[in-house]
């Protein structure tokens, strides 16, 4: 069977979106009260990620890459972040188990750690540690962006002071067309970047591009990705406020 059109001349993508539309985002916070201090679940299209945050608490020295945690432990003026991620074997199209030290997953954890070390007001919690655990339940493109967004929400839920949401989104370049928020089929077919911004500002927390792309193509991709980030920030913020309202209503203040 031949592959369907990635981007039709009529301006529709493989799943019926236009170039600048993100997939449906559904998110919730405080989903796993029993097992964590802060938790969230986010679905971006068919990509689904759960995040649990424990802390801040006593440093245990564990965490991502072992060494990373230990080195940081010496700098005891700042909070220590540890990130670990589990990608479920059933999350992709064919059942495949990823080992715990899968390089790509390790790299993703490290990326997330670096982002949030800057986004969290670490100096307020010296000599303490925050453990972040991610569970990727289903993948349909944009795993990293979904993880970053999930962490953001879970940290908010845990009450960790942050400068702003960190929101992430992907953008790709198909021929001459920028496409926002790629799904799996699109990711396989074109160069794309993942960008994370600090809230609705133009401050870039992450820019990751793993494919070669012409320098002249970069700017439109970045612009599109940034608008996607800002859109996600609104969705996340709305969810947090909704949750806050319902909490307030329950406590009867």
């Amino acid at each position: 069977m031949s592959r369907p059109e990635i981007y039709s001349p009529e301006g529709l993508r493989i799943d019926g979106r236009r170039w600048n539309e993100v997939r449906h985002v559904r998110c919730a916070i405080n989903t796993h009260q029993a097992s964590s201090d802060g938790s969230s679940i986010i679905e971006q299209g068919n990509t689904k990620v759960i995040c649990n945050v424990v802390g801040p608490g006593e440093p245990t020295g564990g965490g991502v890459g072992g060494s990373g945690g230990n080195q940081r432990a010496k700098d005891d003026n700042r909070v220590i972040l540890t990130v670990k991620a589990v990608v479920a074997p059933f999350s992709t199209i064919d059942r495949r188990k990823r080992s715990g030290n899968d390089n790509r997953v390790q790299e993703m954890c490290l990326t997330i750690q670096h982002i949030f070390e800057e986004a969290v007001m670490g100096h307020l919690q010296p000599r303490s540690q925050i453990e972040i655990s991610l569970y990727v339940l289903s993948q349909d493109g944009g795993m990293l962006q979904a993880c970053i967004n999930a962490v953001s929400l879970a940290l908010v839920d845990a009450g960790i002071p942050m400068y702003d949401y960190v929101c992430a989104c992907t953008a790709g370049m198909y021929d001459k067309e920028v496409l926002l928020d790629l799904n799996r089929l699109e990711e396989n077919d074109m160069p794309f970047l993942t960008m994370a911004t600090l809230g609705a500002t133009r401050k870039v927390a992450l820019m990751q591009l793993e494919t070669r792309v012409g320098i002249d193509r970069l700017e439109p991709m970045m612009a599109a990705a940034m608008s996607g980030c800002h859109h996600l920030r609104d969705v996340m913020d709305a969810e947090v406020r909704k949750h806050g309202k319902s909490r307030l209503a329950r406590t009867g203040v």
Partner: protein
């Protein structure tokens, strides 16, 4: 398969309110479950694209550059009784059956192509899909692709137990019904609402559509309602008649796909491209990597419905059945003349007596022949990809049954293609008698195992046979040359100033940035007389240190043709300018080719210059490239330049420069020859056309001057220098040209022929040895013999090709014929697209401008290479065919005796090459009532003419032939007919 719907709350801002996600489980080959989950967003902002609809025009969707696609479907669609004005919605089957109709200019406007249909078509045939996409993009015929599966109202979910086909049919009907309602609602009562007309050949679907209240019809009754019915009806792909009784198979069925794949893997079957012999339509050959010699496929039965150019799978026959290539000239029309197209092949066996006899002689010959002539023989067991395209030919008048004349009954007739390698094609038409004597374009649709000939359909009439327009168009179609005038969007890419465009006088103009001012240099151009597209110019001068400075200046086409513009795409798809005898099919619009880019004398032009410093013995000291502005001092023809150089009275610096150029070019040539460059020959003749009435009057052989090779040497030098530079800058994506060394086997026959007939040796181990041995093949009494051998050697070579440097190992870059390690084309950007690419890459390599994305993209470049290789080949073929046609015309009313050489010997005839016209033609012995024997080992025919003397005719022998032209009945081409004059054998 399972589907789940998730409904979301509509959020005001986005146009899609509901998403549907589909889960499909597919078993993979290993039995593992593979889960494919795809989202599917439904939206309400997909326009109906009718110019009548005020709603959809109000809020059109924008693309990333903010552009809006205008409504396509016209306000006043064509009106056909009894439906009135209407938009058409054909189903998938209609596009499969009648794509040629859709492309026809006289009908089928305002067509809505549903996404369902488009997707289905894509699964059935990618070429058809591409044609349909091209139709909808051109907008000329107003085809609109409506994404019904993404529109909320027209989305159809597959019901439990429903087949995919049924679902698709239902989706089509739903879309029709929606269009109907939508137009009713939005247009209102004020104006006439176009009907929505569903066209389908599926009776069940039509019935259900009627129940829904959708106007519908089948294709035939729709076409019958159109004016010009007959011509259109002929273009519908003929239905293979629904047979109840199992038909008798004429051919062996192809093996199943799995058996073929298994066989190829196991090495039992081999895959390759079939090429049919020019001289024998029943003999094909397939080159496969596992055999040194091409595999022979002999006879209709073994060819098994495969046609020239098809990618086939063959099975090698046991060694006892191996044969040698035919030593006979076999032409289809002489053998199958009396076949009846209407007969359903029920009585006759596949191989007729006559065909059998034609092949019989091979078995006999086996014992006598030299061992090396036996070739592995194979039969076709499967076809991977058909090479079916359009074929130009004419109707075989004798195939029209007498009772069909005058009636409008549909009859089956034979179309005889101009290309002799293509089998006759069965065509159903209602206008058989009207089509006799016309050049006709047709397509092949199918070739069942139960049919002796392929089945095709008529597309259009090009004109009368032998009329110049029809023959030229036939030629262009046959070689797939794009000859349509440039579209407006291409012309829009030209500079607005048009012919008044000038190099800006102000050197601070941005267009001067990075350009060197070389206007003072004494530059001149040397071209064939009457050349209008001058793409190269030269200069040379002595430097103070005694060295020479030599410059090659090439038209700066890439300044005008920017990547990814409409003009660039058009040039890329045309690939090359095609030169016919009386006509030039340009790659770029004429304004650029013959004016703005052309380095005309006395005017300033943008150029791209390569400048070398050389020592007096032509060793390169330094090379540099720069964009420049030049003013050519003079445009010479080869002859003028030669005269000027030879005339000692000219001592001006321009002439001196030319003398330097000539001197260096000789040194360069010598160096090249020493390295083993080949000096090959191809028959080159020029047809002189009297401009007034454009009737060819004479044929002459092109003359070569020293200045020809002067220009050639510097172009080679420039190309080699540029190739090295761009490969250095872009090791992965440089556009280069290579010429693979020919396999040794290719020369075996020629070497043996030379040894036997002329006692000469041909050594083809290296290009150097080949060049030397070619030089030694000289017969002092016959100077032309050497040229003839060179012509034959050229035919043993492989063709040079463009490639992208990242796709080959560096050792394969070599250009065999030129004996250069690396080579590209850079010097003719006006007429070759490869040169434009090389220009861009070079401009980027010298940091003049950034390299465009598409020139870094390896797969994209590979596609470009593939296309221009193909176009280049076709352009050569077309040029040759055009010369052939004109030679035929020039000799039309003349008869004369000329000298020729025997070029090939068959057991029932031989081929004679005539240097004077650069043509070759067969002489059949059946036309001469003589007894003869065929001495195969010595490539000779012995005639028993009379009793006392015996005449022997051997390969390479000089003969005198009588030339006249006849209108060949089989192909409708005017062909040169030869008759042997001396030696006398009759």
């Amino acid at each position: 398969m399972a589907t789940g719907i998730k409904r979301h709350h509509p959020d005001g801002s986005s146009a899609f309110s509901l998403s549907m996600s589909q889960k499909v489980y597919v078993r993979s080959r290993k039995g593992k479950a593979t889960k494919i989950v795809q989202e599917h967003y439904l939206r309400t902002d997909i326009p109906c694209s009718s110019q009548l609809c005020p709603l959809c025009i109000l809020n059109p969707p924008k693309d990333s550059s903010g552009a809006v696609r205008p409504a396509i479907l016209s306000r006043t669609p064509p009106s056909v009784k009894p439906w009135g004005a209407h938009y058409l919605i054909p189903d998938t089957n209609i596009f499969v059956k009648a794509m040629d109709l859709m492309e026809h200019k006289s009908a089928f406007y305002d067509v809505i192509v549903l996404q369902t249909v488009l997707d289905e078509l894509r699964n059935i045939s990618l070429p058809l899909y591409n044609r349909l996409r091209a139709l909808s993009l051109s907008q000329e015929k107003r085809f609109y692709v409506f994404h019904n599966e993404f529109r909320q109202e027209t989305f159809v979910e597959r019901l439990p137990g429903e087949s995919v086909n049924d679902k698709n049919d239902r989706a089509i009907r739903t879309a029709c019904a929606w269009y109907r309602v939508h137009l009713d609602e939005t247009i209102g009562k004020s104006s006439a609402i176009p009907e929505i007309l569903l066209v389908s050949n599926d009776n069940d679907c039509l019935r259900k559509a009627k129940e829904l209240g959708v106007a519908c019809t089948n294709l035939e009754s729709y076409v019958k309602a159109l004016p010009d019915t007959d011509a259109l009806l002929d273009m519908i792909v003929s239905e293979t008649s629904d047979v109840t009784a199992p038909q008798k198979l004429v051919y062996q069925e192809y093996y199943s796909t799995s058996r073929i794949q298994g066989g190829i893997k196991a090495g039992i079957f081999h895959q390759g491209v079939l090429s049919i012999s020019q001289y024998n339509y029943l003999e094909g050959s397939v080159s496969v990597p596992s055999f040194e010699r091409p595999l022979l496929v002999l006879g209709r039965e073994s060819l098994n419905r495969a046609m020239h150019g098809d990618v086939v799978v063959v099975e090698v026959l046991p060694e006892s059945e191996w044969k040698q290539p035919s030593t006979k000239i076999v032409e289809e029309e002489t053998i199958t003349k009396d076949d009846n197209p209407e007969a359903e092949d029920d009585d006759d066996t596949l191989v007729t007596e006559k065909e059998h006899a034609a092949l019989q002689e091979k078995l006999k010959a086996k014992n006598t022949s030299a061992e090396f002539r036996i070739q592995p023989t194979a039969k076709v067991v499967g076809v991977i990809r058909r090479n079916w395209g359009f074929y130009v030919g004419h109707i075989d008048a004798s195939s029209i049954s007498s009772d069909a004349a005058g009636t409008r009954r549909q009859t089956t007739v034979f179309l005889i293609p101009m290309d002799k390698r293509i089998s006759k094609i069965k065509i159903r038409t209602r206008r058989a008698t009207g089509l006799v004597g016309k050049r006709i374009l047709a397509a092949v649709d199918s070739w069942d195992a139960s049919s002796r000939y392929p089945l095709g359909h008529f597309i259009r009439v090009l004109g009368d046979i032998e009329s110049k327009e029809a023959e030229t168009e036939a030629l262009l179609l046959e070689y797939n040359v794009q000859y349509q005038p440039f579209t407006q969007s291409v012309l829009d890419c030209l500079p607005a100033e048009g012919h008044d465009w000038k190099v800006p006088t102000d050197t601070s103009d941005p267009r001067w940035t990075g350009r060197e001012d070389l206007r003072e240099l004494l530059v001149c151009s040397i071209d064939p007389p009457g050349c209008q597209d001058i793409d190269d110019a030269l200069h040379a001068r002595v430097l103070p240190n005694g060295n020479y400075e030599v410059g090659v200046h090439i038209a700066d086409v890439s300044h005008f043709v920017k990547p990814d513009t409409a003009m660039d795409l058009e040039a890329s798809s045309r690939g090359t300018t095609v030169y016919l005898v009386d006509k030039r099919i340009d790659m770029l619009p004429v304004l650029l080719g013959t004016n703005l880019c052309s380095l005309m004398p006395y005017v300033e032009r943008f150029a791209f210059s390569a400048i070398w410093e050389m020592t007096p013995d032509a060793t390169i000291v330094s090379t540099r490239f720069t964009k420049s502005v030049i003013r050519s001092k003079e445009a010479f023809s080869y002859e003028q330049a030669q005269l000027r150089i030879d005339d000692k009275s000219h001592v001006d610096s321009l002439t001196e420069g030319m003398r330097i150029l000539l001197k260096i070019s000789k040194l360069l040539r010598q160096k090249r020859m020493d390295a083993g460059a080949l000096n090959l020959a191809s028959p080159e003749v020029k047809v002189r056309v009297e401009s007034e009435q454009m009737d060819p009057v004479d044929v002459e052989i092109k003359k070569a001057h020293e200045t020809n090779s002067l220009v050639e040497e510097f172009m080679l030098l420039a190309n080699i220098s540029v190739a090295a530079k761009i490969y250095d800058a872009f090791p992965q994506s440089a556009m280069l040209r290579r010429h693979a060394p020919p396999p040794k086997e290719n020369f075996e026959v020629l070497a043996d022929q030379l040894r036997v007939c002329k006692n000469m040796t041909l050594n083809s181990e290296t290009s150097k040895k080949l060049a030397d041995s070619l030089d030694s093949c000289v017969d002092s009494s016959d100077p032309f013999l050497n040229t003839l051998i060179r012509i034959m050697a050229t035919r043993c070579m492989l063709a040079a090709e463009y490639f992208c440097s990242g796709t080959m190992a560096e050792s394969d870059f070599r250009h065999y014929g030129l004996a250069s390690e690396i080579y590209t084309h850079w010097t003719s950007p006006i007429r070759r697209y490869a040169d434009i690419v090389a220009h861009r890459q070079l401009a980027s390599a010298i940091a003049y401008e950034p390299l465009h994305e598409s020139l870094r993209d390896k797969p994209k470049l590979e596609r470009v290479c593939q296309n221009i290789n193909q176009r280049h080949r076709n352009a050569q073929f077309a040029g040759r065919a055009s010369v052939e046609y004109y030679i035929g015309q020039a000799l039309k009313n003349r008869e004369l005796d000329v000298e020729g050489y025997v070029m090939k010997v068959f057991s029932n005839g031989f081929v004679v090459f005539i240097p004077q016209f650069g043509i070759e033609g067969p002489i059949h012995l059946r036309d001469m009532k003589v007894e003869y024997t065929f001495d195969e080992a010595n490539y000779a025919l012995e005639f028993n003419a009379g009793t006392e003397k015996e005449v022997r005719l051997q390969l390479f022998d000089k003969v005198t032939v009588h030339v006249e032209t006849v209108l060949e009945e089989s192909t409708g081409k005017r062909k040169v007919a030869l008759r042997l004059q001396s030696p006398q054998i009759e």
